[in-house]
């Protein structure tokens, strides 16, 4: 049957995308290692890092980096087609279970990353650290969470699925990037692993990346939650009922609100704000996995056997 073929192609492309991302991550790692070796980093006491560059070594590591970026773009292409084929195979919007949801979140994260990289090319060394959680999520999605292409239950048959789940995936994917950037910012500021951290963009650049993406992700997330409430009113008879998923979504929203407030509070602007941002993404991940798979609630749509 044609539809099962499409589902098969979709799965193959998913695997191909993961493989390409892994390769990109490895190349980023090689670039990272090569450039670190080619640089002598003098860490002054409290002063700025003094970097002594050796001219010929640089282009080679840079070539690895550029290859990694090209592969990332290729991976995004494969990933996107995989999701589209999944939708065609199941004859519905491809966001009906945890596997598809994870796939969409990671795609959103990768697209965000590429857009940010285009705007600030100096960000490239961060690539490895963005790809790592993405690859882990994709791996979990393809193994633990995998569900075959099939129609969804009646409660999910609504155009609100398209609105709510799509925006929530994009927002979650967007917020992954600031989570990573804030972690690296904290590493950079802590002064630990100085040799390793010295290759990263400056703390300031990382901080700005985290903030700029969060202020896009947060309103989108807010919209997604509101859309979810509108859908809940039509499907479950109430717009908000403190279902575990709703509760943790609320917690995540409050944490991100705290991040934005911390950015405007003296003494909280730097490390503390970054910690809050990391916490925010941790809550999002917690909501994605723990709440759907462990806690029983109305959002248990994992599509997992048993």
């Amino acid at each position: 049957m044609v539809l099962t073929d499409l589902a098969l192609y979709s799965d193959r492309l998913y695997m191909a995308a993961v493989a390409v991302y892994v390769l990109a991550m490895v190349l980023h790692g090689v670039e990272y290692a090569a450039e670190r070796a080619s640089k002598q980093v003098l860490v002054g006491a409290g002063g700025p890092d003094v970097e002594v560059e050796e001219a010929p070594a640089r282009p080679r590591s840079e070539r690895y980096g550029r290859m990694a970026v090209s592969l990332t773009v290729l991976g995004v292409g494969l990933h996107l087609v995989s999701i589209v084929l999944r939708g065609l195979a199941a004859e519905r919007w491809p966001l009906g279970n945890m596997y598809e949801f994870t796939s969409a979140i990671t795609l959103a994260a990768m697209v965000t990353w590429i857009v940010m990289l285009r705007r600030t090319p100096s960000m490239r060394p961060v690539g490895m650290f963005v790809l790592f959680p993405v690859v882990v999520l994709l791996f979990l999605g393809g193994t633990v969470l995998y569900a075959p292409a099939q129609p969804v239950m009646p409660a999910l048959q609504s155009y609100w699925l398209v609105i709510h789940v799509t925006t929530i995936s994009i927002a979650s994917g967007l917020l992954l990037v600031p989570g990573v950037a804030s972690l690296l910012f904290l590493l950079r500021r802590s002064g630990k692993l100085p040799e390793f951290a010295a290759k990263l963009p400056s703390a300031d650049v990382l901080d700005r990346l985290a903030y700029r993406v969060t202020i896009i992700g947060f309103p989108l997330y807010t919209f997604a939650v509101i859309a979810g409430a509108i859908w809940a009113e039509a499907a479950w008879g109430r717009f908000w009922g403190w279902d575990p998923k709703e509760t943790v979504a609320f917690v995540a929203w409050v944490v991100y609100a705290a991040y934005l407030h911390a950015r405007a509070t003296a003494g909280w602007r730097a490390e503390r704000a970054a910690w809050i941002n990391v916490l925010g993404f941790a809550v999002m991940i917690f909501n994605l996995f723990f709440i759907n798979m462990v806690v029983a609630g109305l959002h248990s749509y994992a599509g997992l056997p048993g």
């Binding site: 700005r208 700029r212 309103p219 509101i226 499907a235 008879g237 908000w240 009922g241």
Partner: protein, 531 residues
Amino acid sequence: MATQTPTRPHGSPDSRAPRARLAWVVLRNAWRSLTSMRTALILLFLLAVAALPGALLPQRSLNQTLVDSYFTQYPWLAPTLDRLGFFDVFASPWFAAIYLLLMISLVGCVLPRAWEHLKGLRQRPVAVPTNLARLPHHDEFTLDMDADEAATRIRTRLKGWRRTETATTFSAEKGYLREAGNLVFHLSLIGLLLGFAAGKLYGYEGQVIVQAGGGQFCNTGILGYDSFRAGLRVDGTNLDPFCVKVDSFTADYLANGQAQSFDAAIGYQTRADLDAGVTTWRPFPLAVNNPLRLDGSRVYLQGNGYAPRFTVTFPDGQKRTGQTQWNTVDPTTMLAQGTQKFARPGVTDEAQRKLTGLAITGIFAPTSSGGKVITSVFPDLRDPEVAVDVLRGDLGLDDGRGQSIFQVDQSKIDSGALKRVARVNLVPGQSTTLDDGTVVTFDGVQRWVNLQVSHDPGQDYVLAFAILLLLGLFSSLTIRRRRFWARLTPITGDDGVKRTVVEIGGLARTDRAGYGEEFDRLRADLAKKDD
């Protein structure tokens, strides 16, 4: 918190005034620290932490059964948690305390800011700084035109900016909507909370099981419902009257048993219809995700199940037919469990009644596995069968105690007052004859639907405030408040041509995510040569 008390001797003539002032100072400081950003941050954290047990522990409002099983699982911990309100987190006083403090803190922070913003709207943009070169964005260029033309060019380019000018300087400011958005966002939060509270006070939610094939329900009082959750100010009188009749219910399943669609064809009569004495029903296709919306109330299709129909023919020829919904015990196969109770007709003697009650109790499988011990293998009605015990004796219906419609009174079986007289598997149309000649027939099965009626007068306000909140949030995070200045210095070159030196400066007032690109575009537009 320790407050310092002044060490002034008591009874001194001026002791009252300082004490009043002290009280004022304490109050003012308390208010200031409550409305400070740090307090808001801490309260936000507390709110997040306080909400978490609501997701991790079972909640009464969601699932009483899970709470009960938590009690049996952790008997040493559950009572303590219960006393602290951990099974009703969102109704607990400590959760309310946190969000109310947060709202007060918010009001205290936002209202003065709103006032400042309104004042700021009437003020003119700040005069040009003496040294524009010290601003984060700065440039200087010469235009081949006189000062008037240069001024016109700047004026045109700064359309949409709030600006003032003197003969040689321009001050402009833009992005007031950022602060406005911020204020709208915060004030909307309060509106949203009020709308939410209104729903909790004046709303209600009721569930009722109605059998398909003509079963009716009217929203006239709490007694009509199987379960009813009333808002704090709802006493069950004055419900919005309307009636619903369930004509049919259809469910579609995939081959693997996953549900694909649930549809109930219903008819309804609104309050106006009832008042006018209309007897016809307005048709409506009720489905999951497609509730019936009447003014003020909504009707939802929430669940479904089976109601087997039994006919009992007593030895004297009298017949009684009964059909009661059975409880679905396995939602994936729709295996159901229940009881159909009959009192023997014409028996008025109390002692006799206690001997002749009949109960048919057991399980129903919509698609039976067959065999002696049946179970259900598919949720749809393909091969229905019941496996039942027929019990005779005292059903306890006259005891004056309420009893479950799904079960017989177990104590009557234990005491021997209710005895099993048959155990049999029946498919529709089949019957069994009891020792006294009574014939029990399994006639067939009807579907039932679980309808939920919801009434929430606050939800439209909540939606309106949610939209406002979103608009406020978008503008407060995307719009940048920025200032722009220009100073014109006319010069006349050696060739006698009038030129103007334009010095410009820019400053983003709010965040660090730059105003550089916009400033560069402005500069490029202003400095470009005329064609």
